[in-house]
């Protein structure tokens, strides 16, 4: 009950923080239109470029939203606000739930706007495939939301912006959000396939029939979740016992 009322205020804060919202929403949209518009008739990686790039930019926007949640926790730790909250009846799980929900809310807004832009550039999918695509994006972002919480406790102050920015950029570049860095073979491709961002972008193959994600995709997402969630819990515990 206290958690529910707390979430309301977190959401309120999310929408008040227009600078952040503008960046996390506008950045993928601008890139999508700037690159997608002139290339809207091309194909890429076996599908229409707008569909591929729509997924790519939805992933970038979604990652910015959920990982930046971590930056928010780091800021609240730095200013001492977290300590103030810890001496209220608010339970830590409710605090983290509120952060993750806000991260997801931001992600959903970005994904929706990028998908609408995709439609504007000619992407056409059956309703069922839209549902699958968005559903997979949201599932695949889960371990990254946990990563964001972990970063919020591991990194402090000035280091946060470059760490979050660098993490999102690396995951996006290696995951293929902007297209591929190298041919789809070799060591680097192996690394790419071990990243959740790669499979997130691959959710764009939603219309190619059969299962969208192979077993490997689910293993990678689950594996990241199995590492990131306990990591987030562990760094939170370490952080709060030391203070």
């Amino acid at each position: 009950m206290t958690g529910a009322s707390y979430i309301r205020y977190e959401v309120l804060q999310l929408f008040r923080n227009w600078r952040f919202l503008l960046f996390s929403v506008a950045y993928p949209l601008v890139i999508f239109w700037a690159v997608g518009l002139p290339n809207r008739h091309h194909t890429f990686d076996g599908i229409g470029f707008p569909l591929y790039f729509m997924a790519g930019m939805a992933v970038v926007g979604g990652m910015i939203a959920v990982i930046s949640t971590g930056a928010r926790i780091g800021l609240e730790r730095t200013t001492g606000w977290t300590r103030q909250l810890r001496i209220t009846p608010l339970k830590p799980p409710a605090y983290f739930a509120a952060k993750v929900i806000c991260g997801y809310l931001g992600a959903i807004i970005t994904i929706a706007l990028v998908c609408l832009s995709g439609v504007a550039l000619g992407v056409r999918l059956p309703a069922e495939d839209w549902a699958k695509l968005v559903g997979l994006l949201l599932v695949g972002l889960a371990p990254l939301a946990a990563l964001g919480v972990a970063l919020g406790h591991l990194v402090s102050g000035d280091a946060m912006a470059p760490v979050v920015g660098g993490t999102v950029t690396a995951l996006a570049l290696l995951g293929g959000s902007y297209g591929f860095l190298l041919a789809k073979s070799g060591v680097l491709f192996g690394i790419m396939k071990a990243l959740p961002s790669y499979w997130l972008v691959q959710a764009s193959k939603v219309a190619s029939g059969g299962a969208v994600w192979p077993a490997l995709a689910w293993i990678v997402i689950a594996g990241w979740a199995v590492v990131m969630v306990p990591l987030a819990v562990a760094v939170y515990r370490r952080d709060t016992s030391r203070v």
Partner: protein
């Protein structure tokens, strides 16, 4: 009157504890608390019992261990040894029950909420909060209630922080240096509110290095120095411990040894042409002074200020060093 929604439903522990047995479920009990940060002992074997309804000042200079003690009471720092009990519960449980409010020494409130929203949000976390509008008024925050928390001045932030600590209607209010950054008017508003809270039977503990504040607003003063409790009692008792009165007179070139030997005088000191006598029996001392030193003029007698009590006690502590540990601990009303 602050406690709009308090009375009947709100305060669990407090009322029962006050009417029945203060020692039973107890208010706050710190038992042999010790905390070190690396080689630095921040708090050394602090034992303290505070009855429900008491207003207690933790008085001491910077680095005395006041903040660390408060952090341990709030469960924000884990003691190396010893334990804390709040109304018979460990801190985490008392906090989860909404029995505790705290005002910490922290930086800005860098939140995208207005003052009113932040206070409402905090209220919503507690089972029996006070009326937010009442709290805004009582803390003098209503005039900037619609301003973003990130845009407040230091004094305004401090008022908001106070509002946050009290809006949950907690049985125990812990305040770490609450009046830092407050102007005169801010302090007046703050202490008025604290008095109202204390009048409802709430327990209030505040850390301060303002001696006048401890003297004026606390029922009881716990004096801390270098991580230990060096004195604990009513302000009057602490003053009595160091000789009671001070006699000041202009008396150029007087012999300090002769002055110190006067009846009722415990110590004599010189400030330029003035002499300052510490006296346990000021009447006898005054009579003797005027008889033996007819040249004395501008004679002034006053109660020893807490400042002097404080200096005397902490100096004593420094001198006795380890020998003082036992005395301080026994004074700490443990058990």
């Amino acid at each position: 009157m602050i406690g709009g929604t308090t009375g009947n439903s709100g305060c669990h522990g407090i009322v029962a504890g006050m009417t029945a047995n203060n020692e039973g479920r107890g208010g706050i009990r710190l038992t042999h608390l010790t905390k070190s940060y690396g080689p630095v002992a921040a708090v050394r074997d602090v034992s303290l019992s505070i009855a429900p309804g008491e207003t207690v000042a933790l008085l001491g200079p910077n680095g005395a261990g006041k903040s660390t003690t408060i952090e341990m009471v709030l469960g924000l720092a884990r003691p190396n040894s010893g334990s804390v009990s709040l109304f018979g519960l460990p801190p985490a449980q008392a906090i989860a029950a909404g029995a505790v409010g705290g005002m910490l020494q922290t930086g800005s409130l860098n939140l995208h909420l207005t003052v009113a929203e932040l206070i409402s949000m905090t209220a919503s976390l507690y089972p029996h909060p006070l009326d937010v509008a009442e709290v805004l008024r009582a803390t003098g925050t209503s005039e900037f209630a619609d301003r973003r928390c990130s845009k407040l001045s230091g004094g305004q932030t401090q008022r908001v922080r106070f509002a946050i600590s009290m809006v949950g209607n907690p049985d125990l209010l812990l305040l770490d240096e609450p009046t830092v950054a407050l102007d005169v008017e801010g302090r007046r508003v703050f202490w008025d509110a604290i008095r109202a809270i204390a009048a409802q039977g709430k327990t209030v503990v505040f850390a301060t290095h303002y001696l006048e504040e401890a003297d004026a607003y606390a029922d009881r003063i716990v004096l801390m120095s270098r991580g230990e409790i060096v004195a604990d009692g009513p302000a009057t008792e602490i003053k009595a411990k160091v000789g009671g009165r001070t006699i000041r007179a202009t008396l150029p070139g007087a012999d300090l040894a002769r002055l110190a030997a006067l009846p009722g005088v415990t110590a004599a000191d010189r400030h330029g042409d003035a002499v300052i006598l510490s006296a346990t029996e000021p009447e006898a001392a005054l009579r003797a002074l005027l008889n033996e030193f007819p040249a004395a003029r501008d004679v002034e007698v006053r109660g020893a200020q807490l400042e002097e009590a404080f200096l005397a006690l902490t100096a004593e502590e420094t001198d006795r060093d380890d020998a003082a540990t036992g005395g301080a601990a026994s004074k700490g009303q443990s058990r």
